[in-house]
Symmetry: C2
Subunit: 256 residues, 2 copies
């Protein structure tokens, strides 16, 4: 795996890195994706598309003495999804977001008022696109690929972000793991794209944001193009996958 | 749940707190456990019995500029067990310990040499007892309770620690989740004690060390006496359980 910039902040999650996406675009920038491989669809995690920074900025504004709170929060969010999936005690991702925010805020003695809490959580339905997204989605659609989102977020949250940014029409399906009551990286969660698209694993390119989702998608068996905007270190034991700093890596992988 | 001392270090795991057990013993200190409830056995996690500080001290000695490395390490250790259990990509706990140690060391730009790595990992088979353990195990045995350990650690590691500290004879079984290839908090892992002891859930008192294990055991349905030596904050959504700073809480809960 590519050696990535590393620091303790990186380990602590994506929050510290939300603005760290590379300014440099992909070297390959043709207008369409001329494909010579088996890929027929791309399944995106939500965060390669939608930038969570809007929510993190509110957290940092409310707690200026705890700059690492967004990173701690998202580390807790995802470890809670795995803990609850292991225990088979599913709750919705909205509940995970809220519970873990309260938990980390209290842990740094920065308890939240109800209005602030609501403002932060509401921001997850009003995220912005990363700047490269619209053009890259257009390239992928022009190449005849089906595009879906496959996320832990609720379908309502995903659709709100799509509608707000005018990208709904790019996507052939919106798949929330809520439908299987098991978060990624369970096989049941990843398999949702195969079932909806009626395609084989090797025909679906998965585009994760987080190191753990890159490991999970590759373990499941999807060809994987890791959109590592946060310059995260690969998970221990993760299969080697294609990795890049923006959606250029997805276009390149789809091209074959 | 009892309000516990909280700080960011607490959130980051047990490492920072390994020496933080309360000096005050249990208020109840009879020679035997006179029981008037249904409890017939106690299933202990390993860490209420064995203090991981020996391994953490080596880490801190090797990396004096990274005092929080033990906490980061153990946070990564357990989130990796849940991630891999969710993905159904089991590896042994020994492998998790090693991989996650390499990962966090590299993340703080403090890479490990092979000898240092081996010294740290070997220490997990040569841990000391917490000071209250021997007397409390004696009380529980004198009350006619069966005692087992049910841990993510390998059986070899558990037996080495028992033999080294002369407590093997207190335990009726040594249960490693390696036997079911699924870490706690899976139901399969917790159920090992029921199967081995041929007892019902309500007859087995579970004694966890970590907040996540207290949540997991209680979610599974075991009566739970949380030996919260690290003064960890309860997990979001965890059932309310009995909690104390040392094995006194186990004796009290067994007493009914």
């Amino acid at each position: 795996m590519t050696a990535l910039i590393d620091s303790r902040r990186r380990l602590l999650g994506l929050g510290a890195c939300a603005f760290a996406f590379a300014a440099a675009g992909s070297a390959w920038a043709a207008d369409t994706v001329s494909r010579n491989n088996a890929i027929r669809a791309v399944a995106f995690d939500a965060f390669p598309i939608f930038n969570p920074e809007r929510a993190f900025a509110i957290v940092r504004g409310l707690f200026p003495d705890h700059r690492d709170l967004p990173g701690l929060w998202f580390q807790k969010v995802f470890s809670d999804t795995w803990l609850r999936t292991s225990a088979r005690r599913y709750v919705t991702f909205d509940e995970i977001l809220a519970e873990s925010l309260d938990h980390v805020a209290a842990s740094v003695s920065a308890p939240l008022g109800g209005a602030a809490r609501n403002e932060i959580l509401t921001a997850f339905s009003a995220l912005d696109l990363w700047p490269d997204v619209r053009d890259r989605l257009g390239q992928l659609k022009a190449a005849g690929l089906q595009l879906v989102v496959l996320s832990n977020m609720s379908e309502a949250m995903l659709r709100a972000n799509m509608a707000r940014n005018g990208v709904t029409e790019f996507f052939d399906a919106v798949l929330s793991t809520d439908a299987v009551q098991a978060f990624k990286p369970t096989p049941e969660a990843y398999a949702m794209a195969m079932h909806r698209l009626q395609l084989e694993k090797e025909e679906i390119l998965f585009a994760p944001f987080a190191a753990w989702d890159a490991a999970g998608a590759a373990w499941f068996g999807y060809p994987t193009a890791w959109v590592n905007r946060g310059k995260q270190r690969a998970e221990p034991g993760a299969p080697d996958v294609r990795v890049g700093a923006d959606l250029g890596v997805v276009v390149e992988a789809a091209r074959g």
